[in-house]
Symmetry: C2
Subunit: 204 residues, 2 copies
Amino acid sequence: MGLAERKEREKAELKEMILQAAKKIMLKHGQEGLSIRKIANDIEYSPATIYLYFKDKDEILHELMELGFLKMNKYMTAAFAEGDAVQRIYLIGEAYINFGLENKDWYDLMFSSDKPMKHIEKCREDWDQGMMMFDFLANTCKEAINRLSLKSQDERILALQLWSCVHGLVMLAHSERIEIVEPNQKESLIKKTLDSMLVSIFDK
Amino acid sequence: MGLAERKEREKAELKEMILQAAKKIMLKHGQEGLSIRKIANDIEYSPATIYLYFKDKDEILHELMELGFLKMNKYMTAAFAEGDAVQRIYLIGEAYINFGLENKDWYDLMFSSDKPMKHIEKCREDWDQGMMMFDFLANTCKEAINRLSLKSQDERILALQLWSCVHGLVMLAHSERIEIVEPNQKESLIKKTLDSMLVSIFDK
DNA sequence: TTGTATACTAAACAGTGTTTAGTATATTTG
DNA sequence: CAAATATACTAAACACTGTTTAGTATACAA
């Protein structure tokens, strides 16, 4: 029966409207400025309606987070396609930082906020896209370790080391701490630091 | 006249009471759970009274942040006293991570939250304790670069590199992202990663 | 004693996430 | 076709948040 399908489609459409409104508001006013009431106002429904489509605000943030990973994948396509493992790590690092610097709110949702994953038992599947990225990096690290016969034997430690460095850089940039200790040269400083970090590891 | 002095002392005492209550509540309920009304309730004054002693909530958070730096200095005393520059960097790294892991709320206030420094023009003096720490690290890096004649010539880049790594580790631990990608071994994983990072730089 | 300055607060404003109870509308059933 | 039910939605409330305003007692000075 076509009626039930139409109903279902309309339900999905409103859910999508909510998500798109949430996205729009977050991009305009930041994650702090995103509220259920503003979404409701934007889509011209009452706040209570939103709770018929999402369990709570965290569920909305979680879906936005997943959109964030899609966005990040676009930054990564060139890097992922690179054949040489070490060069791939360089490109991933650059792309990661570019994404982080250019998409503060998305980045926060994906790598910093604990709001989109309150339910601790569920958080491993909630963050499966992040885990996939980490695993990909770890595999690339394994390749690099073998090719360069690095001292570092554990590829997951090396992956965590790389991730910490770029994550730290992005977070220090977001919280303006870099700007404080070294004013007016954030961009170039970050590039130099990323470079220094990769040279330390791979360029012996 | 002793009267004016007594008045002034009493004013300072209430200000201190507010700060101590804020500290107590933050330690019990986290930074999210700290509210003006809870402070007011705790010290048995009205919320409005607090605004006679502090401009706004951010000013309270800023003073808490400064207490955080005092706390961190205690973790650092042994490291700061170390004579050898490279060993000093190791000890600073360990102390930094220990402080970060054991004092999530304090750490957030000092290195992540932008709330205690909204006033962008003022934020360099607001964060002078952080800048002093960074400068100390950078000086230690300079010593280390000279002693080991490292390729890396810019000590402030190296300092930023080190800082990013430990900051990233602490933040990934706080946001449970480490626990997600590598469950049930956070502590040892962090120590191994810190070690790998320092070996990469200094142990060629 | 009068007048002013100080210390404090009740209440309100404008927000926040979320829930409950109730109302229209649309669909299904007798 | 009418009655019963299911669906979609919302007004209003609850319990919070930071902050401001206007007003009230109290303590001190003239």
